[in-house]
Amino acid sequence: MSEAHDDPGTDGDAGGDDEIDAENADDGSGVQIDMISGERMDGLTSMEKIRLILDGVHDGNIVILEEGLDPDEESKLIEVTMAEISPDEFTGIEIETYPGTEQQGNGGFFDRLLGRESRTKLTVIGPANRLETLHKDETLISALVTRR
């Protein structure tokens, strides 16, 4: 496991020196997992976050977000993912989130009244051809990650 450590900058290029790690993972020796902290995502624009995620996924990595994305960003993630799907190369993403929308809002009465929600929303994103969700319930995500 490794935390992504590149700087996506402002031009949307989230690649950088992670490409070396991706090559190592790509040679069939393993699967790279990028665990991205909420702090790391805080300084990025929506499109920079999406670029960071999708660049990792394009490299065959599993991306885990500590704090997930907000609904608008999720919507854009689907839109951009669709635009990048191409036959025989990239078939899209598998994504799972904890807690789901229906389980959020565990804060107190005033948090809900003021529309404040817990930011904790662990999200796992991976290439659809490598990550398969086997089971998900209220307390467990079980996923199968395959090598190329």
Binding site: P71, D72, E74, E79, P87, G92, T101
Partner: protein, 214 residues
Amino acid sequence: MGLFTGLRNSIARVTSSLFSGGQRQRRIGIYGPPNAGKTTLANRIARDWTGDAVGPESHIPHETRRARRKEDIEIERNGKSVSIDIVDTPGVATKVDYTEFLEHDMEEDDAVRRSREATEGVAEAMHWLREDVDGVIYVLDAAEDPFTQVNTMLVGIIESQDLPVLIFANKIDLDEASVQRINNAFPQHETVPLSALEGDNMDEVYDKIAEYFG
């Protein structure tokens, strides 16, 4: 969150209808996963009130690859008339693999083209969801597990836009259908059972459309 989302949606509905004077055409997007019966429902509504269909139906996923709009549908309920445009959208997914279409006896070129059109259609539908619809009918196949990430994300996205949303549990004519399962998945929203194919429970469907989007 459910109680407050519902309250917020109700306020948004009332405010919107106050300022529209009850006359503005409401653009209602029909969203949901592939093969939930969105086009069958759109056709049922359009045929019932205008006599025309919206688009072709098929059991092959992503039959609808471009959003289709049917305008000026006047629905009369309880002496009142509600005018809406309905937009039938492609099934929302996070992945589209053209090889799945090959299993439906499709040639590879056709499958690749279908895949490209489907991805463009979904991207467009997601964009419209943020920009171009006044309300959403979210269609689910009552015979399938509703607890999917795409459904959860989509309903969350719709809620974040403060759009009025009705969840339709379609295909109740199937033995495996469970409306309760959909109720359990999205307790914060009203679920209306129906069979768009058989025309079951369409009276309640139109009552709810008039109530939510009128």
